[in-house]
């Protein structure tokens, strides 16, 4: 068994795709370095990220398949799910063969797998557009912590840079230790951990208390339905909510 191993970046993954086609090889999986498990039977091939090669693959997907398809590949990559590297390769092989109509071919297993994964990522992203909670810090920076299933910080940032264009904010994935930083002009993503305690703005508690009260008072007792609530908002997401 051959595994291609890359540095964990999207460019790295696309370089692997390039090499697989170029070398006419069929690796059994494509895995990021930090997810690699020791296994005696696996032959590991480290692929160096090459942005020229990845750019070629990027363009080819756009031209030969579709922009939508490129988005699905990117979302599957962000899912960080096991075997997603392999699925992406299979999906692209098929895509280069049948072109832009590939995503209609839902009776095909690989197409459906990618469709499912990218839907899951899309759904989680959409959920977090709503359930992300900012706290106002002492220095007027809005800070939000989250622990998403998938690596979606980069998908959230554009939404908040439009919406809160005149604020300074940080969206911090405390599980992956990465954060998006925005300074009223542009956003960047960097590795990030917090050592000290955050100092909140003096008004912060007051608004949190109001929000909690509002939340409680919105529920209609005679319609109580906790199962429906959990269906809509699974408990794994409750930790950073102010109101629960």
């Amino acid at each position: 068994m051959i595994y291609y191993v890359y540095d964990g970046t999207f460019d790295g993954l696309l370089t692997c795709i390039y090499e697989a086609f170029y070398r006419r090889e069929n690796p059994d999986d494509i895995v990021p370095m930090d997810k690699l498990e020791e296994n005696f039977l696996i032959q590991k091939l480290f692929i160096n990220t090459d942005t020229e090669k990845s750019a070629k693959v990027y363009r080819t997907i756009e031209e030969k398949i579709s922009v939508e398809s490129l988005k699905r590949v990117f979302y599957a990559y962000l899912s960080e799910l096991p075997k997603s590297g392999r699925n992406i390769l299979k999906y692209l092989r098929l895509g280069f063969k049948i072109g832009r109509s590939i995503d209609d071919n839902l009776a095909n297993d690989v197409v459906r797998t990618i469709d499912k994964i990218s839907n899951k990522v899309t759904r989680e992203k959409h959920l977090f557009l709503g359930i992300l909670r900012f706290k106002m810090l002492e220095n007027d920076i809005l800070y939000a912590a989250l622990e998403p299933e998938y690596n979606i910080v980069g998908l959230l940032a554009p939404h908040f840079s439009n919406r809160m264009s005149n604020e300074n904010w940080i969206i911090h994935d405390v599980k992956r230790n990465v954060a998006a930083f925005y300074n009223k002009k542009e956003w960047v993503i960097r590795d990030f951990t917090i050592e000290d305690r955050l100092v909140l703005h003096e008004d912060e508690e007051e608004y949190e208390e109001m929000w909690q009260a509002y939340y409680k008072h919105m529920a209609i007792e005679s319609r109580k339905n906790l199962r429906l609530k959990k269906n809509n908002m699974p408990m794994k997401y409750w930790k950073h909510l102010v109101e629960i």
């Binding site: 709503g130 007792e221 005679s222 319609r223 339905n225």
Partner: protein
């Protein structure tokens, strides 16, 4: 009274208005401003009853000069009363919004002093939000029946959505439970908003820069179960509102008993299943090409609580089935129980590549348990051999019945259109 206490009182008073949607507007942020609207709408949390919170939904005040019997805020009710100042509402809205608690504001009000006075207060809030705070998030306000056209129009140019709640579906019911209201008073602002929207669209064709008027359209709410009105009456009204008034949504609110007036029915629980059936039927009108008269008639004026309206329709029209999944057109696929908008689209897409088997249908997310009785795959029938509607009905009801599941489905908002489409299968 502290702002926190006002918030408790005036949130409580607003919560029976079920609409909380933030969809339908694509207002963008301005330079140096705060907020924008997301056309698909965004839910920010879900309450213990499973409903989504998208907007800060509050009343300006719950002091009311009217005495509608079904309403908690009626003047004769002994109730803690409060009133926000415009500045208080603006401050809460902005600070909730920055923390991403909400998509915007849904401001309603009881009728304080007079309809015009109340509408003017509402105007003060939205003007300050838009023009002083440069707030570009979603705003939905109530148009107060009886307020002057001029004020309603001023407000309409600043907000995303407006609504007038009809609440009671017939004139007799209004007379009984809301004697100070009349059909005319309610419908007048609705047609006013409708006409202004149409005029505005035409203006904007000529002058792209003229400000939008209520871009997310208008909605209304009907109370279910406070009066003896049948589902047929309600659904006909709904159909008329969609066709004649271009409404974006009609919401249904199962009546929650708030008084023991002898004019009100004695209900132990709000009629949630009935409410759910109406939402399903509403969905069939808007997205599945059904008409009210196909779903109900004078002989059968109410929905079967045991079975969803689409399934019920299919069983009453069993002669149209089974249909061949590899041939039927989109509109017919949509009429098959177990196939929703998304799955119908997926079938059409996938069968271009190869003819679909029964297993493929499962993979595409079709509810085959339900659909199997009504379809064939390549000529083969996978349900029971018979096309006897009574037999199929008994098979299907066994599985759904009046379980918790039915209630589960009962509350939703329109952000999850796909989800709801799925529910209707």
């Amino acid at each position: 009274m502290e702002v926190l206490d006002k918030l408790k009182v005036l949130a409580d008073a607003a919560k029976y208005d079920v609409s909380c949607s933030s969809s339908g507007s694509n207002r963008s942020n301005k330079k140096g401003g705060l907020g924008n609207a997301s056309p698909a709408g965004i839910c920010h949390t879900w309450t213990d009853d499973g409903r989504c919170i998208s907007l800060l939904k509050i009343l300006m005040t719950n002091y009311c000069i009217y005495d509608c019997i079904y309403c908690v805020n009626r003047s004769s009710n002994d109730l803690l009363r409060a009133a926000f100042t415009p500045d208080e509402i603006v401050d809460i809205t902005i600070n909730f919004y920055k923390r991403n608690y909400i998509e915007g504001l849904f401001l309603s009000s009881a009728v304080y002093k007079s309809p015009n006075y109340t509408m003017e207060m509402i105007y003060q809030v939205v003007r300050k939000l838009r023009e002083v705070e440069n707030f570009n998030g979603y705003i939905h306000v109530k148009a107060i029946p009886g307020a002057d056209q001029e004020i309603v129009e001023r407000v309409g140019h600043l907000v995303d959505r407006m609504s007038v709640n009809i609440e009671l579906p017939t004139e007799e019911s209004l007379k009984l439970l809301a004697p100070q209201k009349t059909k005319e008073k309610i419908l007048k602002p609705m047609s006013l908003i409708k006409n202004s929207i149409i005029r505005n669209l035409e203006e904007r064709k000529k002058f792209r820069s003229s400000p939008k008027f209520v871009p997310a359209g208008q909605t209304t709410q009907l109370i279910i179960g406070a009066t003896p009105d049948s589902d047929l009456k309600i659904l006909r009204l709904t159909e008329g509102l969609y066709k004649g008034y271009n409404l974006k949504r009609v919401y249904y609110s199962a009546f929650v008993p708030v008084s023991n007036s002898p004019k009100l029915p004695a209900l132990k629980y709000p009629p949630l299943i009935r409410e759910n059936r109406l939402y399903q039927a509403d969905w069939l009108l808007r997205f599945y090409g059904f008409e009210a008269k196909e779903l109900l008639d004078e002989e059968r004026p109410d929905f079967d609580l045991n079975l969803d309206p689409k399934c019920d329709w299919a069983l009453r029209n069993i002669h149209l089935f089974p249909i061949e999944i590899n041939k039927a057109d989109y509109n017919m696929l949509l009429r098959v129980p177990g196939i929703g908008v998304t799955s119908a689209r997926r079938i059409i897409q996938a069968r271009k590549f190869s003819s679909l088997t029964f297993d493929d249908l499962k993979k595409l997310g079709i509810v085959v348990k339900r659909a199997q009785y009504f379809i064939t795959c390549n000529g083969k029938h996978y349900g029971i051999k018979s096309m006897n509607d009574e037999l199929i009905r008994s098979k299907i009801i066994d599985k759904t019945s009046l379980s918790e599941g039915a209630i589960q489905l009962s509350m939703f908002d329109n952000h999850h259109s796909n989800q709801i489409g799925g529910l209707l299968t």
